[in-house]
């Protein structure tokens, strides 16, 4: 059975400000979705709701047809934050945290961590203090930490923002590696990155979904005028 994620009439406000307005979205199959939008469009809030870190005011999230609570979502989805957060542990300690919660054996954890670190270009980083590594390295550690949990939904909030091209390339390659295995939702401003990585693109503006389309169609033949303006850098916000 193909994985299926449905967002139905999701709404969220902070005080009197409506951040998300009647969001409806269906992701069928292990696709990579790029969530595009201007600053403050609601991308991060949407990711946080799907990750189960934020309560929605209205609406529901269904995973494989079943209404799923925030607590359940936290076992299905893992979010990689835009601003990386590290425990004040070694790189190994950071990577092992989620695996230990899942009751994995130490020998398995060690093996998996070594493999994953190699994938993100950080071989033999296990004993380093995570907070003492560079920004690019921390983002790669954060990605490896999420990959290790093999979540059914992987949420990436601007994973390459402010990174050097080398780190960004490694991260993109790592994302490419899991394409087709899990649902990946990637919030980004980077249009060319969305083009390279995404199967489908969702354009969100002022808390509303403006357009959902296949990546090629989205960039070559946008249906909405707002999306066309956004792609051409003409959208005022």
């Amino acid at each position: 059975m193909e994985v299926r994620l449905q967002l139905k009439n999701v709404e969220k406000s902070y005080g009197s400000v409506k951040i998300l307005k009647d969001i409806n979205l269906e992701i069928l199959g292990a696709k990579t979705i790029a969530l595009l939008g201007t600053n403050g469009a609601g991308k991060t809030t949407l990711l946080r709701i799907i990750a189960g870190l934020e309560e929605m005011d209205k609406g529901s999230i269904l995973f494989n047809g079943k209404d799923t609570s925030g607590k359940e979502l936290r076992h299905i989805a893992t979010l990689v934050f835009q601003k990386t957060v590290m425990f004040s542990l070694s790189v190994y300690g950071n990577l092992a945290y989620g695996l230990k919660i899942r009751g994995k054996k130490d020998s398995e954890i060690k093996e998996e961590i070594a493999r994953e670190l190699q994938t993100v270009g950080l071989r033999n980083f296990e004993k380093r203090k995570a907070r003492k590594t560079s920004g690019g390295e921390q983002q790669r550690i954060a990605l490896a930490r999420a990959f290790l949990l093999n979540p059914q939904i992987l949420l990436l909030d601007e994973p390459t923002a402010n990174l050097d091209p080398y780190s960004a390339t490694i991260i993109e390659r790592a994302i490419m590696r899991i394409r087709g295995k899990n649902i990946v939702i990637l919030a980004t401003h980077n249009l060319s990155q969305a083009k390279r990585l995404a199967d489908e693109v969702v354009h969100i503006y002022d808390g509303k979904i403006v357009e959902v389309a296949g990546a090629e169609e989205f960039f070559n033949n946008p249906r909405s005028e707002m999306t066309r303006k956004f792609i051409n850098g003409e959208l005022d916000y």
């Binding site: 893992t78 957060v85 425990f87 930490r145 949990l149």
Partner: protein, 238 residues
């Protein structure tokens, strides 16, 4: 003035190395009452701080505000209140605590409670949001999230406890009023300083003050050194 200070240093060294048993006993009593007081306070202060730092509830700001304002409570006022409670006429008179080292320890445990609670609760609160989100998204339960946050802020707690120890070690009001400054019984470093100053024995008073300062400095520097070593990435750890 300079002569007094130089003489005080000479006297301090003489007192430390003379083998005077009362000097050692005074230092021991100071360490005992403050150590016991701080440990006792940790028993309730850290759980209170954990609740204030990690949970949201109505009126939390008010409770935090009360603890913060009590940090500066005058020690003589607390000493007087405890004296009234511990005296024969007081509610706890039957315990016969007045003029004992345990009375001073209890007083100091109450004195340092607001300090430990405020510092620890603030550290937990400040660390909370991002670390909680991280732990949650990695699949941690609320209990595990709290454990992770506490582990991350353990060093702030150590600093809060050491600040509390220093506050207790240097206080006079409680020790004087509920301890009574009895020679060989409840005389501690701060009450010795006050007593010798009253007698006009400024060099002896200054010598006790230097011993007190030296102990506080040594403890604080030792804790800071441990923290520095902990933060450092040692070559052999790579």
């Amino acid at each position: 003035m300079q002569d007094i200070i130089v003489e005080a240093f000479r006297k301090a060294l003489e007192l430390i190395f003379s083998g005077n048993s009362e000097v050692y006993a005074t230092v021991y009593r100071s360490l005992y009452v403050t150590g016991l007081g701080t440990l006792l306070s940790c028993l309730w202060s850290i759980p209170i701080a954990t609740v204030l730092g990690l949970y949201s509830f109505r009126g939390k700001w008010l409770i935090k505000g009360i603890f913060s304002s009590l940090i500066g409570v005058p020690t003589v006022a607390l000493g007087l209140l405890l004296y009234l409670l511990m005296s024969h006429m007081g509610e706890f008179g039957f315990l016969h605590l007045l003029y004992t080292l345990n009375a001073i320890a209890i007083g100091e445990s109450i004195l340092v409670t607001p300090l430990i609670v405020s510092f620890t609760a603030n550290a937990l609160g400040a660390a909370d949001v991002q670390l909680r989100d991280l732990a949650k998204t990695l699949g941690a339960s609320n209990f595990r999230c709290n454990l992770a946050i506490m582990r991350e802020t353990v060093w702030s707690m150590v600093l809060a406890v050491s600040a509390a120890f220093n506050r207790g070690f240097g206080e006079l009001g409680v020790a004087m009023i509920v301890g009574g400054n009895l020679l060989g019984e409840t005389r501690v470093l701060t009450t010795s300083i006050a007593y010798e100053t009253n007698l006009g024995e400024f060099d002896v008073a200054m010598a006790y003050a230097i011993i007190l300062m030296a102990i506080v400095l040594t403890i604080t520097l030792a804790i800071n050194l441990v923290e520095r070593l902990r933060q450092r990435e040692m070559p052999w750890k790579k």
